[in-house]
């Protein structure tokens, strides 16, 4: 009996262990390497080692210059800010479009739900790069989206709101960037929301209605609070990768929409300044992880209090 228990305990360790080791080898260790590089000095061709042995003694050289420089040049700060801004805008749009979508999908007839779910996942069947390129064609002059928007004279409004640089030009603007990001990340918002909303006990809405809540009130007071976990999960799945997004701003963005991914690229491949590039990456990760950790902590405490 004991041996069987031990076997299962070990089996459980193995099951948890595999993804754990995977994350350790392919995420934590590379992150530590990046962290190390950010604190190193750039040699002529490659990065100098932090730890060197010379004449029988060990020398450790840590260089914080990259971090200092990051605070001195306002470019970095502005770029972080604009990355977070575009990521946040994308998240808000994804939520605004995704929530009603997920809601009606979850309330659709059980027989059509798999088909709707399939439609949400359909874009994954084509390469992401191809789909972003396709937007280039749609938003460029003579693309049908361009023709539609210009035909409706919506470009003037967009231009006065500062979303496009000039009337008649949609590509390489904040407008095209946000369209591309919302389009790409929408499924990541819809899927967790759908799975959350589909689980909801509909009798709660009947109870709310019975107690005098109009359907709209019942939605705000019951459905929305109960889907909080789905809203948070979907928003995180959109916000986090959007902050570090490189390909979409590169293809659809423009001079107005400098994002941190672009700066990273430049530091690595144009300036060949690996320590600076690594510093930018480390700070970006901290910018995302620290608020998340604080939020998680707060959630856990709130749950603890509820008990």
């Amino acid at each position: 009996m004991r041996r069987i228990l031990d076997f299962f305990r070990r089996g459980r360790t193995a099951v948890i262990g595999v993804p754990f080791v995977w994350l350790l080898v392919f995420f934590l260790i590379p992150f530590l390497v990046v962290l190390k590089i950010s604190l190193s000095e750039m040699g002529t061709v490659s990065v100098n080692d932090i730890v060197t042995f010379a004449e029988g003694s060990m020398q450790i050289k840590l260089r914080g210059a990259s971090y200092v420089f990051l605070t001195e040049d306002s470019l970095y700060f502005r770029t972080y800010l604009s990355s977070i801004k575009y990521a946040a805008i994308t998240t808000v749009f994804c939520l605004a479009i995704g929530y009603p979508f997920a809601y009606f999908m979850a309330r659709a007839k059980a027989t059509v739900q798999p088909a709707l779910l399939m439609l949400v996942m359909l874009p994954f069947w084509t390469s992401f790069l191809l789909r972003v390129y396709a937007w280039k064609g749609l938003l460029d002059e003579n693309g049908w989206v361009w023709q539609l928007l210009i035909g409706l004279h919506l470009d003037a409004g967009l231009a006065s709101a500062g979303l496009i640089s000039a009337p008649g030009k949609l590509m390489n603007t904040p407008f095209s960037l946000v369209i591309g990001m919302v389009y790409t990340y929408l499924p990541f918002m819809i899927l967790p929301l759908y799975s959350n909303l589909a689980k909801m006990d509909l009798r709660l809405l009947e109870a709310a209605s019975d107690l005098g809540a109009t359907p709209w009130k019942a939605f705000w007071l019951i459905t929305v609070p109960l889907s909080k976990a789905g809203i948070i999960a979907g928003s995180m799945l959109v916000l986090i990768p959007c902050v570090g997004e490189f390909v979409i701003p590169e293809l659809l963005g423009g001079p107005q929409t400098l994002m941190i991914g672009r700066v990273l690229w430049d530091e690595f491949f144009s300036n060949n300044d690996w320590p600076m590039a690594s510093t930018v990456a480390v700070v970006m990760i901290l910018l995302i992880i620290v608020p998340l950790a604080v939020f998680n902590r707060y959630q856990a405490e709130a749950q603890e209090k509820a008990k």
Partner: protein, 375 residues
């Protein structure tokens, strides 16, 4: 069948809730088929039936979650047609309660009051009163999942009573509780409802629950009402074979009417003959059923000297017995092979010559214990 769907007079003369010729047709399937009931103010009325009999659909039409295909529902003089659930002066205690999991007990009870735009102090006052009524004042800050099943049930009751509804609906009110707790809660629930004085319609498949709680019961089957009456009327004077069989245990014997006198009738069945001490409306030779409840039959070793011998007694062999503590049920096999259930209460702790498996015994009953059923 429909001729039997009589509407018994409500306890008091004034009809408070009137259900009139209500039909609910789900694309060709009549879940509720031409139901009419009058319910008086302050009554606790139970809709009793097995699952799929239409009782829940009828309750949902009262709450406003379903619209009757035809017929009228009138509450306190107002026709409820076209009124959405959130405008009806009716509140419901849901099966397994449907408490809002993200709200505290306090907020759950306050939910309905706030929807009415009642001001804060009034809401607080009312919620406190409700918490006191169901003895949960200590638990106001808890979330529903932190309460036991019995406590959740009381929160659900408090929530449905908070708005002082003109009509309270209970959907299987005790279905989610275990047996012991259910018995205690039945009485408590009735006490609270009577204290508040609200008119109440409940739905249950549990006849014991209906009998202990309700002042009147409607037995439903296949969308129709078979009989309406006080619990003892339904038990002692069932109108049809179905009702007799559905409520409690019964021995149903088919037979023919041998003699039909004003003061008595004789019915010949396969194993025995019945001398029934009252007249019935029928003709000699017609087929009828005789229903005798197991607890109204006596069991002994020797042939009993009954008043109307050889009627109202039969000999058989004990094939099976089930001991329930306070009583024992014997299954007596009769000459034709039919089984007769006899229930004997265990008055003494030990009895000499106790009847057991394989014994031959005589069953007998009085001429007032049978019910003659023609339907």
């Amino acid at each position: 069948m429909s001729a039997v769907a009589t509407t018994a007079a409500p306890a008091s003369n004034a009809t408070y809730l009137q259900i009139q010729d209500v039909v609910k047709d789900f694309s060709g399937y009549k879940a509720v088929n031409d139901v009419s009931i009058d319910i008086a103010k302050g009554e606790i009325f139970a809709l009793l039936g097995s699952s799929g009999c239409g009782k829940t659909t009828l309750l949902r039409m009262l709450a406003g979650f379903e619209t009757p295909t035809s017929g009228r529902i009138v509450l306190n003089g107002h026709d409820l047609a076209g009124m959405p659930p959130y405008e009806r002066p009716i509140n419901m205690m849901f099966q397994s309660y449907a408490l809002f999991p993200h709200l505290t007990v306090w907020d759950n009870i306050a939910f309905g009051l706030r929807r009415d735009g009642m001001d804060k102090d009034k809401v607080a006052e009312r919620v406190e009163a409700m918490l006191k009524l169901v003895q949960l004042a200590k638990y106001a800050k808890r979330k529903p999942h932190q309460l036991s099943g019995g406590q959740q049930q009381r929160v659900a009751l408090a929530r449905s009573l908070a708005k002082r509804p003109q009509l309270l609906l209970l959907d299987e009110p005790l279905g989610a509780l275990d047996k012991k707790l259910r018995e205690e809660t039945q009485i408590e629930l009735v006490n609270i409802i009577e204290e508040v004085g609200v008119t109440c319609v409940m739905v249950t498949h549990d006849q014991e629950e209906a009998m202990t709680m309700a002042s009147r019961i409607a037995v439903m089957s296949e969308g129709r009402i078979l009989q309406v009456g006080a619990p003892n009327d339904i038990y002692e004077t069932p109108a049809t074979r179905f009702v007799a069989d559905f409520i409690g245990n019964v021995n149903l014997m088919d037979g023919t009417l041998k003699s039909d006198e004003p003061d008595h009738v004789v019915i010949q069945c396969a194993d025995c003959s019945h001398w029934v001490g009252h007249g019935i409306t029928g003709t000699e030779g017609m087929t009828v059923s005789v229903a005798v409840r197991p607890e109204k039959i006596a069991l002994q070793r020797d042939p009993p000297p009954t008043e109307h011998a050889p009627h109202n007694r039969v000999q058989g062999t004990i094939k099976d017995l089930a001991y329930f503590g306070s009583f024992t049920v014997y299954h007596l096999q009769l000459a034709s092979g039919a089984m007769l259930k006899v229930s004997q209460s265990n008055v003494a702790r030990h009895r000499d010559h106790e009847l057991t498996w394989g014994d031959t015994a005589w069953a007998s009953w009085s001429p007032t214990s049978q019910v003659v059923l023609t339907q």
